[in-house]
């Protein structure tokens, strides 16, 4: 158990962090070069004012027409994204582990709050899964990889909840928790989860084209 724990909490953390960081930089640069080669007009049309205006509207709950048309989805999507980022970054146990390893720490949320946020993430994942199966327009666009990505996102939260509450087999679940978090982090740049880095670019471009060229709203 010591060797497994040392491995997943030591070298594997570095491997996943490096894949995540280097992957993000690589994907960003290669996408920028591809755009320069295939769609050079993208650079000419980019307008920071219109880009930021569009990003701001799409980051505001019910800030776009589409969000107002699908209120349930909007609420679930926003709560999911807030919790999926805040819960792991400000979890007390994670702060302690980071302090132990790198001697840095920051503000943390209460365990009750983290528990609620974790349940919101898990419930949202179930919602997204059902939506993919039930809604024909979403089902049409769904491939196997979408289900795998959904499972990859849910896994660290399910195993984390399990470990925290010390349900049966929580020690092995703790190992799976660490591993699943690392897999998720490393997968971000190379899957659809890369919308984390590309969201501002794609939204910014659409905002620029609609705002500066067509003089229309894109929200």
């Amino acid at each position: 158990m010591h060797d497994i724990y040392d491995f997943v909490s030591g070298p594997m953390v570095w491997v996943s962090l490096i894949i995540f960081a280097a992957g993000c930089i690589y994907r960003f640069i290669s996408m920028a070069l591809l755009a320069k080669e295939k769609d050079p007009f993208l650079y000419n049309y980019m307008s920071p004012y219109h880009a930021l205006r569009s990003i701001f509207h799409w980051l505001t709950p019910f800030g776009s027409e589409n969000m107002r048309k699908n209120p349930v989805f909007t609420i679930v999507a926003f709560s999911f994204h807030i919790c999926v980022v805040i819960a792991p970054l400000f979890l007390f146990a994670h702060i302690i582990l980071i302090k132990q390893s790198w001697n840095v720490s920051w503000w943390f949320i209460s365990d009750t709050m983290a528990d609620i946020m974790t349940l919101i993430v898990i419930a949202s994942c179930v919602f997204f899964l059902i939506r993919r199966i039930v809604r024909p327009e979403v089902k049409f666009l769904t491939s196997a990889s979408d289900y795998i990505i959904l499972a990859m996102v849910a896994a660290p939260f399910i195993t984390g909840f399990w470990t925290y509450h010390q349900f049966a087999g929580c020690r092995i679940m703790g190992i799976i928790h660490i591993l699943s978090g690392e897999i998720l982090l490393a997968a971000i740049p190379f899957t659809r989860l890369s919308h984390m880095i590309f969201f501002p670019i794609s939204r910014g471009y659409i905002g620029s084209e609609f705002g500066a060229i067509r003089h229309a709203k894109d929200w």
Binding site: I96, T163, G174
Partner: protein
Amino acid sequence: MRKKTWVLCSVIVLSIIFLFVTAYSQDNIKYVQDPAFTKRMRPAAVFNHDEHNENASIDDCSTCHHFYKDKVKVENETSEDMKCSECHKIDKDPVPLINKYHLRCKGCHEQEKAGPLMCSECHVK
């Protein structure tokens, strides 16, 4: 009758003293509990003092109960009568003291490749 009352009183008083002595003696330490932590995030860490030190073959008290003066460890001096928080003070933020405890316990377990490492193994619910 008088003698009986005396014996009874003595037995009661002695057993109370015994109870207090054993309750507050080192022998009975079963958890790591520092009163400096006013708000507890997790259940106190399970720590059976004597059993632990026997298993780990720790004879030198200063292994854990070290004493530092001007940032230098004083040899042959120990600090069993002190709380860790007397030196490792909490200044609003409890994280540095929590970290000291974790480094003391988990750090040693990692070094020795023995003993619990994961949260749930010490902070048992």
